[in-house]
Each structure stands twice: as C-alpha cells, then as structure tokens.
Amino acid sequence: MTVHLPQRDAPDLKQLGPGPDPQPSRRGVLFWAGAALNGVAAVAIGIPVVGYLLAPFASSGRKQSWVALGHVDEFPEGHTTLGEYVNPFTTPWDGYTANTPCWVKRDAGDAFTVFAINCTHLGCPVRWFPESSLFMCPCHGGVYYADGSRAAGPPPRGLYTYETRIRKGVLEVKAGRLPTLQQTP
C-alpha cells in the first residue's frame, strides 16, 4: 500500500557514520552488558511480582478447615434446613460474601448430611421443597431427591456433600472451596 503513509523526518542511521566511538567492539560490549543487566534486574523484580499474582495458590492459611454450623439441636430430626457458616478464611472487606449457605439434613440422632447450596450443573443456589422432598434449581431446572441424588434436569451428578463431624454437640463441616465438578467443597 502506498496510500499516504504517515512519514516522519527520522534521521537515516546509516548516514550518521560511525559516530564518536570508533571501536564497534566496545559498543557491542556496552549493549550486551546493558541487556544482561536489564535481564537480571527484570528477573529479580519479576519473580516476586509473579509470586504476588499467584498468591491464591499459596497454601498458607488457605486450606480447608472445620467450621461450625451450629449446635445439633438447632437442626430438627427428619428435616432439611438451611444452614449458614462463615468461610474459614475471610478478608475484612468480604461483606455478605463471607457467609455461605448450605442444606443440613438430619435424619435421626447424629446422622447428618450437609449438601452444598450449589447445583452441580452450573452452581446456582438450589432450593429445598419439603412438601415434595425435592431440591429444585432456578437456573436450568436441575432437580434432586432428598438424599441429594439427581432426579431430573441437566446436572451431571448429585449434590455435593460436605465432610461433617460433631464436636461437643456442635455440627461442623469441612469447608473453604467453591464446589465445582473437579473439587468438592
């Protein structure tokens, strides 16, 4: 294309001559030394920066841990109720998002099953309907039975469940991860 390219009066380097430094080898040394110095400095600065960016992977303080859902008596036997816990790691500016809902099913005595709120299809919050004993998802119509197994719709598996334990009468779940198909909560 020759259609009126922007042109500047840049000096032609070839016509400038060898310049004040007649020794090309010295110029070459300076150039490569400069390049090496920049490279070393860039690596020195870059490694911590990459470390900063990859901080979410740093395991310190980001492991799943046991969090309390409430005293076992708060969950009536034979019912499924909405539970709430505070994420095991939070920042002071989390606001509402520090909390996570889950469905707590207490069969009898200390037999608990705690389901993640997230539909296994694409993560929308499922709702419990005690009258028909079904979980229904408002997004794409996933339906689950009371035991969390898939009943209908697009979900590829049943609801995610938490590991649970009871300590001194308090129901605890192992939490700290957004459940997706390749990682349970």
Binding site: Q7, D94, N118, F129, S132, L134, H140
Partner: protein
Amino acid sequence: MIRATTRSVYDWFEARLGLEKTLGPSLTHAVPQSAKWWYVFGSMTMLLFMVQVMTGICLSMVYVPSADEAYASLEYLTYDQQMGWFLRSLHVWGSHLMIAMMSIHMLQVFLFGAYKFPRELTWIVGVLLFVCTLGMGFTGQVLRWDQDAYWGMGVGMAMAGRVPVIGPEIVHLVLGGPIIGGESLSRFFALHVFIIPGTLIALLGVHLLLVVKCGINERPTPGVLVDKATYRETYDREVHRRGMPFFPNAAGRDMIACGLTLTVLFVCAMMFGPAGPNGRPDPMLIDTAPRPDFWFQSIFAVLALLPPYMETFLILGFPLLAGAVLILLPFLSGDGEKHWKRRPMAVLFVSVLLVSLGSLTWLAYQSPWSPVMDAWSALPTPAQYVKGRSPLALQGAIVVQNKQCRNCHALDGQGGRRGPALDGVASRLNSDQIIRQVIQGGGNMPAYGQHLTPAETTAVTAFLMTLHDQWEHEPATGRRTPRD
C-alpha cells in the same frame, strides 16, 4: 486580527508537534468512492467505546470496588448521587449498543469479504477486539455487585472448573482464592478497568493503523475476484484515480452515523434507565433466579438445552473452536470472490447464526426449562377444573398444588413449563399410565413414589382423570365433539 493571531498560535504548536505531517496523511488517506453507508459501523463501535471509557471513569469516581461496599455505592450512585442514575444508564446502554454495533460491523465485514487479502490481520485483530468486548460485558456485569453478579460469577467458575486437570486452579486464580470473597470482586475490577481495556486500546490502535495501511475494502462487485498477485496494485491504482480523501469526504457519513448513535444512546439511557442493582449480594438470600445480561442469554439457553454428555465438550471446546475458525478464516478463504451473492455458504452461515442466536435468546427470556418456584403457593387452581368435581378429585387438586406439581406443570396456562401442561392430560394418558408416571417418574420427571401416600396418589389420579381436552376425538367415529 483574530484570524492572524489564531493562525500564529496554530503555527506555533504545529512547528513543535508536526501533527499535519504525521496525522494529516492518515486523516486524508484515500478511500474508495464505493465506501458508503455500509462502512459506518466500525466508527460507531469506536465512538461507543470512547463513551464507555468516559462514563466508566466518571462511575469510578463514586463506585467502591469492595465486596463489602460495592452494593451500597451502587445504590448511592443510582438514587442519591446527582445524575448518577444517568451515568450508570449511559454506561449500560453504551455497552449494549457497543456489542450490537460491533456485531453488525463484524457481519458486514464478513459478508463483504473484507477479511480477505490483504486485510487478514485487520480481521484477526478485530476478532480479538470482539473477544475483549465480550470480556468487558461479562466483567462489567459482575461489577454490578448484586445477586445476579454473585451467582453469575459462580456460574462462570462452574464452567471454568470443568477444564480438565487445571480447572480448580483456574477457579482459584480468577476468584483470588478457593471461594467467592472480597478478593474476587477486586480481581474483576482490575480486569474490567485496567487489564481488558488496556488490551482493547492497544488492539484498537493496531486495528486503526491497519485500516490506514491496508486501506478500506472496496464495495465488492460480483465476479471480481481477489488475486493476491495483482490486488494491491489494482486497489492502489483505483483508489488514487477514483478514491476520495477520508476526511472530509467519507467522514461526513461517519459523523452522521455517530451523531445518530449518540442520540439513540441518549434516548435509551433516558427512557429505560440503568440496570439493577437487583438485590444485595447476600449468598444467604437463596430465593433468587440468577439471569445473565442480554448478550449472554443465548449461552444461558444453550446450557439448559444441551444433553449432559456433550455439555463439558461444548462449554470448553466450542469457544476455542469458534475462535480458531474466526482467526483461520482469512487463511482458509483469503482470496477469490468477495460479493455475498456469489458466496452462498457465507450467507447460509450468517442466516443460521442469526436465527439460532435469535431463537435461543427468545427462549432464554421464556426459560421454559426453569421451574416456577412459587407457582405451587401463589397460583390459583383454575375455577373450571374445580367446578363439579368429586371430593376425591378436589383432594387431588390440593395434592397437585401442595406437592409443587405446578412448579413444572401449567394449568390453564399458569405454572411452570418444564413438563407438559396438565390440561387435557386425561385425553393423553389413562389412569394406570398416570399412576405409573407419578410413582416412577421418567422423561425428566422425578419419581414421586417415596413422597406420596397411596391415598394421595389415588386422589391425584382422580383429579387428573377429570382434565380432558375441550375437544376430544370419539374413538368410534374419529369425529371431534365438544365436551361440556
């Protein structure tokens, strides 16, 4: 006097900046005479991008990118800040219009064969701009930190989490941790305000440079083929002989189009107002039905309609495949015919694309696949289905209501549409079939055997057996007779 002063001031700056020499040729570069109204969409998209940058900067003066306070700052912007609602409105309607104009621009370029030699790189950079713009759309929706944003982010992560092997790591990286929290919104803010716009501006610069360097596509003529050996020479000759300077000749149309765009933007922003925020982003408020913004509604529909076995493949594979096809397009058909009349496959492709996207978007707004969560408790049983029924059938009507059947099954047009409407079910199924369907489920219906007592099942069946079509075939004659 004034004129002379103006002139000398201009000359003072020009002597230092040399703008006439550097920018002048770009502004006045020759464009084909045939570049008429079809060629304004790129300028409109760019204008809208500038509007987005300016309104975005204005919004950032008030918006607080913190998970804790973003929602409050949005409410303040919308209801308290003077003209805050208008700025939010401009920004959201600017985004809608920008994606619309960009899509039209892209379709026009495709149908006019403008991606062919020598403008391959212009097209590829354009594809990248398209991806960046959609990225702006998604991240912008998340910054509107409401319930849709919170759960929409979860949906995005559920999709990313399906990537083989590294899925969970991608989720951690994007969320700034293994779970949605304070750092997640900050990351999306950085993406929306720095990373993607920075990339976009750089790419836009390259795109514009290429437009100047490679010239604007001439209006294609059927039968005139692109030959890589002679194209540039012919184009240069023609554009010099019969072209016109971009400024002011062709720019006039662009300016009219841009003026119209701004007017439409103003009217939309004034009339329809800003989007949301809809409900505070409290995960404990689970009575919510998250929905994406307009441009992602077709994806929302696809995800409801795909059979599960191809879902992961399509969620992950389709975007890669589509991107690869778009980038390889100028190399697959870089020369030859440009005019759409001689490219039936191109026309067919665009037609199928538009019809698919259009019908998927329409379906998404109906979303018949979603249960209507409050249908069972909110809707009345239609009077004509109660009148004259036996006590047993009336018991059944109550069971149908209380067991949430209506969440998925409509009666008299009201209720969910996940399953078939129950009007006239007695004309399709006999009582044994109804009992089997209710007890065992099947065909995407849960089995209710565990959750209905035999008495309830009997009552439901009695009720459903009263729901006949208004017009029903008489088996013996095949004649249609009205039922009273």
